[in-house]
Symmetry: C2
Subunit: 454 residues, 2 copies
Amino acid sequence: MRNILVIGSGKSASYLIKYLLDKSETENLHITVGDLNVVNASKLTNNHKSATAITLDVFNKKSREDAVKAADIVISMLPARFHIEVAKDCITYNKNMITASYVSDEMQALDAEAKKKGLVFMNEIGVDPGIDHMSAMQVIDRIEAEGGKLILFESFTGGLVAPESDNNLWNYKFTWNPRNVVLAGQGSAAKFLQEGTYKYIPYNRLFRRTEFLEVDGFGRFEAYANRDSLKYQDIYGLDNVKTLYRGTIRRVGFSRAWNVFAALGLTDDSYTIDESEHMSYRDFVNSFLPYSPTDSVEIKFRHALKIDQDDVVWDKFEELDIFSPTKMVTLEKATPAQILQKILLDSWTLDPTDKDMIVMYHKFGYELNGKKHQIDATMVTLGEDQTYTAMAKTVGLPVAMAAMAILNKKITTPGVLRPINKEVYLPLLEELEDYGIVFKEKKVPYLGYNPLNV
Amino acid sequence: MRNILVIGSGKSASYLIKYLLDKSETENLHITVGDLNVVNASKLTNNHKSATAITLDVFNKKSREDAVKAADIVISMLPARFHIEVAKDCITYNKNMITASYVSDEMQALDAEAKKKGLVFMNEIGVDPGIDHMSAMQVIDRIEAEGGKLILFESFTGGLVAPESDNNLWNYKFTWNPRNVVLAGQGSAAKFLQEGTYKYIPYNRLFRRTEFLEVDGFGRFEAYANRDSLKYQDIYGLDNVKTLYRGTIRRVGFSRAWNVFAALGLTDDSYTIDESEHMSYRDFVNSFLPYSPTDSVEIKFRHALKIDQDDVVWDKFEELDIFSPTKMVTLEKATPAQILQKILLDSWTLDPTDKDMIVMYHKFGYELNGKKHQIDATMVTLGEDQTYTAMAKTVGLPVAMAAMAILNKKITTPGVLRPINKEVYLPLLEELEDYGIVFKEKKVPYLGYNPLNV
């Protein structure tokens, strides 16, 4: 019997646990799911004979160590900042470990010890980061093996609502952490590389510099720049690329409307609004507009943001009911971002029958035999329901598959890793196809940003 | 002989030291000017028989204590963060102290001890803060003594270039710390009170929500909101005001043009630009605009900021030569704000014969006998040359006068103080008039922001 410890039974754990339980008989597995709230863990183990739900507080050293000691491999699905204590125990007790989170500096610092002990610490193996790494590296390695030289890499991912549930004017609902959506893009400027030039976009222009993407069968999307495009240059070994850009996918028109919130200051999380608990939505919006004894909040809003009366963007704000004088904020000492999140949750919460969708789009530009070429690769995954979401599927399945591959000694290279090597991505991408997570590639004319070569 | 210790001989110390030296004979004074660089101190003491220039490092305990011990009163003209060690010595050795800086939490914490020992620690007694406090409280106290009730207080200050030296399209030159000008308004939203409603303006709209001010004999100005308007409510005892607003004065048109820098991201100080040392001004501006193999930086700039070809704002940017392909940034690993500052210094540095100007404008709205009234008070001070600037005069003279008043036991109330009481502001404002620092008051119709009372 091999014991797998899964710590955390949040949204992203459903598919992961289902996958492992489905294999428990043939693979001789026992799965222990530990959560601060054992009821959450029990929902996912669902009285399965090969599973146990336990109460596990990662800040309780004893219970954490006992659980780690009893396991053959440890999967942490906790928020990223909680991995490190578990990781240190895994070093101490010689356990392999898997997370879907970005490699933190603390995690990276364990690399030498993990290598010395021959332990695999696989990270960034969810969807983004995760499937993006694997699918990109598969094409990059292939192009380079054929003698091609990468000159352009662009990669976009979005968590969206499935077309059948897409019934609001923003073509958007919260399918993941709403707070991250409200705060997206804040901080330092987005930075990327375009035809050999570093480019910077400050927050207040981020949502006005989108680009369009077409996905066969799903229509048109748009993407705004992520803050971190350049860190992938080293990780992917893209020393010669002239263009390197990563972005977040939304349906067309979302960003232009969202920019209005950013421009007004409604996404700010750095200070609290006075007497927010007594405000209506209308009062909240009005507090960012000049005082007038006569002019309506609506006309001040339109004037400040230069929105024509027949502009389609206007209906998006009315749909959210942000001008309501009767809907109350109720939150005490709330930041603008917290209040906006509350307003958006009224409209953007998934209905019980709603389904989500993950969209990924890569562009690979390369030179081969003196000519320029481009491959576009796209992937769309739809959710089944609100437990077995596309997000849970694309995050959880690669984690679960990596756990089996490590347990079965198919992945053996030790260290603090990302899934960028063939040993990892080849078997996983192949198995993901069995679950409908498939990249469609097509050759397209290479245009880049200087098609006439002037 | 009374010994006055002045620590710091920067820009704002010229008038201060001149004032004290002019009184040294009649008032029996000896002035010691301590600076890290004794050459700077010597320039201001200028071999005067009643003055000594010394090397003083405030982080050297012994030299700091020796200097404090030998003094009857201590004036710290250092940057605000360096006052506290001096202040603690003043407590230890029973010395009164004066600064022109905002009361820090650390300084405030000395209040009880200062009171217990009967020491006067006078702060915020420069121009802004300083003359603004005194001139505002004089009118506020008078209105209240007459039975009036304050309902509106707005206060604006600006450090500008004198009309005779005002010869660029921005009507602006650096007359004080350029870095503070470039970073002005960043951080949390500006917050103020307008007709009983809290209003918030985020940075990216700050320079587009200005208001106009007319000063007799000097024409039209504009002002954008300071971040901190509300903290004056308690200090001034303005419990009933419905409108409370503090702002920074510029010449008309400055803010609309400056907003372009803020919108493009050129004022950001939170990250560094790659390879900044090899960039031309043109490259720098271009790094915030989309790549194009053909379109000029100028047309991309105009398009991104929606600047018509005949808009007067355009000439302001050309005047700064920000599109120059030959002028080089040269700064290594510089933030956008640092690079912008360098570009602006090319154009906005005072010529040797240039003079500066301080403009202050207060509006007091009040109810008396059932009617609404308004008093506007304005003050303009012009500099004499680049040593005896308006800034140095308006900062240094109140500090020097407060030192004499404390030394001569005319100001005796102990504690960590601001100049908001009659004991302080009455004699100082009167004496400031002798030096040409005069407020002109006029009654104007009260309009507020709801003139029709709807």
